[in-house]
Amino acid sequence: MSGAILILGATSAIARGAAAAWAQRGHRLYLAGRDVESLRRDAADLAIRYGVAVHFGTFDAAAHDSHAAFLQRVNDEMGELEGVLLAFGYLGSQAKAAGDFRETLAIINRNFVDAVSILNLCADQLEQRGRGFIAGIASVAGDRGRQSNYTYGAAKGAFALYLQGLRNRLFPAGVRVLTIKPGFVDTAMTWGMPGLFLVAAPAAVGARIVAATERGRDVIYVPWFWRYIMLIIRSIPERLFKRLKL
């Protein structure tokens, strides 16, 4: 069954990779984001390469009051949704957040509050329908707080907990919830940063996300070995961890 899929934050590189993998399997897509011109280009590209219908429209993650009308518009154009991928996020700057609470708030809102606002509505809809999936991009940064990015980590960690709860709630309804925890993926966010290793291509990550939704997986790390890296990092005793410069 190749139902319609809504991608929130569709112009990110990982979202683009997942969109290509879904389009290749014949799914219709709705691309949502802030930058309409980029969405128009992405939609044209996917439609031409894979011969599927690709719709797009603006989505303002911060305008929570607009989310219900937005979802209605998506339903009007696409009919019922088979799944939703939430791919927007904001890394921000921990250094800036330390001295500027607006930055702190921006990081927490974009990565957690805004995401919860739209996914609550999606969850209700999928629960009623009794099938489908929700996939959300969290982060390995949410697995343990570190001085270099703990505001971002806290927001992503909260988002991962939210998805965990949602998975529990939606299980009886037959709706699957996938938590994606990217390590180093070759995107605009990480490009050029020093100290990166074994960086994954967004197309490969996108294909894994799509495969994971089909197999009904709960939590995936991309690339896969980040599960073990984070296992080690989580297992370091706090008495020791707090002394590390991470």
Binding site: A13, E37, S38, R41, D45, I48, R49, A188, W191, G192
Partner: protein
């Protein structure tokens, strides 16, 4: 946007220079306000054309979206970071093929335009620009300018073959040619020496759409310039049999191997190349009759060996490609090959092609005549001195050197080889009065400076 200061090189891996890289994900991020800017596609030019030492280089690889594809008319429009490999994957199953293709499909459309690349059919179909219906050029200040042979014609003729120095090529619209199958009907003919090779190229000119000669650069004496002429035409569906006829537009994926790291510098020496060439000449020159190859095997044989430039080792290689007008081509090529033989310098891949009439672009390389390309391992001063001697021969016969391959041409030679430089400079000044767009190539050759 993140920036990355990195040592980069062209395909020949000489020279290596430090540039400030950015890699936008979107078309809207291509332009940025910096003192010195240059776009770089797949980095398949050989020398310093896609380098901007000390300045900014915009990698266009992620700005690669198809924007329109008219399956009835064979017109495709795309962001300039799209590669020919991506284009082929989209259009070939629908029966459309690029009108002009260079010897690798791992090139961006923007790069094809900027170098006004040519293929084995230049004598029939002209250079890449012949298939370009329209361009979108992002000029200094971030302004988007539509141009074509009809609209903003001066900007178009300065951008085609303009080596990225008029702005960033944002979008390209191409006219494709219809094909009935992915196959090429190929014919090989061995030529015992250079005169023979020229004769065969002239004869094949009339009937074969694609024509190219492999030339054994290590042959000496009476066999100087021996080689194999390779002709081809797109095969029609009714020339095929069996399964090929049922699915004529389906391509079997080529087996691709990778050169994982730099090979030792001595690998490609005179002895090993001579042995390879002798075997290749015997095998390919003696194939009789016509045979079918898929387009990957015919046009892109080296693409099956990823990172083949590593075969030349850490010091890299230079490709020397020149074109000489028809009337004096034979003596000029003989002199070049004799210089090479006398120098004892190893040279690997040699290619000789016939070219048709020049286009209207100011700095486009092709002109009516013959073009010779040779890959030489970089051996420092000896290599550079040999290439200077080549330049003298090419200049003497009224020819020119291909900028997309160049890493070492002298400014005075460049000026003598490109007589339309003043027109190009005029168009460029209008588009970029403050000289924001610049490259290591343009500074080395003094391309911006008055005559």
């Amino acid at each position: 946007m993140n920036t990355l200061n990195k040592d980069i090189a062209g395909w020949g891996r000489y020279p290596v220079q430090r540039c400030e890289l950015v890699r936008p994900e979107r078309h809207a991020e291509l332009w940025s306000e910096v003192p010195s800017l240059l776009a770089r596609g797949q980095g398949r030019s050989y020398g310093d054309a896609a380098l901007n030492e000390g300045g900014r280089v915009v990698l266009t690889e992620r700005v690669n979206r198809f924007l329109a594809f008219d399956r009835a008319q064979g017109i495709v429009r795309a962001e300039a970071g799209v590669t020919l490999a991506e284009l082929l994957a989209l259009t070939v199953p629908r029966g459309w093929f690029p009108l002009v293709t260079p010897g690798t499909k791992h090139v961006s459309l923007g790069g094809c335009v900027a170098a006004d690349v040519h293929g084995k059919n230049h004598h029939h179909d002209g250079a890449f620009s012949r298939s370009v219906r329209e361009l979108e050029l992002i000029t200094a200040g971030g302004r988007r300018l539509r141009c074509s042979a009809q609209e903003n014609a001066a900007a178009f003729q300065a951008t085609v073959g303009g080596m990225g120095l008029t702005g960033i090529i944002g979008e390209v619209e191409l006219q494709l040619q219809p094909i009935e199958s992915v196959y090429i009907r190929a014919r090989h003919q061995g030529a015992a020496h250079l005169e023979d090779l020229f004769r065969l190229l002239q004869e094949s000119d009339g009937d074969a759409r694609y024509s190219v000669a492999w030339i054994d650069l290590m042959s000496r004496g009476a066999a100087l310039g021996r080689g194999v002429v390779m002709n081809g035409d797109h095969a029609a569906r009714d020339e095929l049999s069996g399964g090929r006829r049922l699915t004529p537009l389906r391509l079997a994926p080529a087996r691709v191997r990778n050169i994982p790291c730099n090979m030792p510098g001595w690998l490609l020496n005179s002895l090993s190349i001579r042995a390879f060439n002798a075997q290749y000449y015997r095998r390919e020159g003696s194939r009789s009759g016509s045979f079918l190859l898929d387009y990957d095997a015919f046009f892109y044989p080296l693409d099956t060996l990823t990172n083949w430039n590593r075969l030349y080792g850490r010091r890299g290689f230079v490709q020397y490609q020149c074109v000489v007008p028809t009337a004096s081509a034979l003596p000029a090529m003989r002199q070049l090959l004799q210089h090479l033989a006398d120098s004892g310098h190893p040279a690997f891949l040699g290619v000789l092609k016939r070219m048709g009439a020049a286009g209207a672009a100011y700095l486009s390389f092709p002109m009516e005549g013959y073009t010779l390309a040779m890959d030489l391992p970089m051996q420092g001063a000896a290599t550079l001195a040999l290439l200077d001697a080549f330049d003298a021969v090419v200049l003497q016969y009224g020819g020119r050197v291909y900028l997309a391959k160049d890493a070492r041409l002298a400014p005075a030679s460049f000026r003598a080889m490109y007589p339309q430089l003043a027109e190009w400079q005029r168009a460029r000044r209008e588009l970029d009065p403050h000289g924001v767009f610049s490259s290591s190539l343009s500074r080395r050759l003094g391309m911006e400076e008055g005559a």
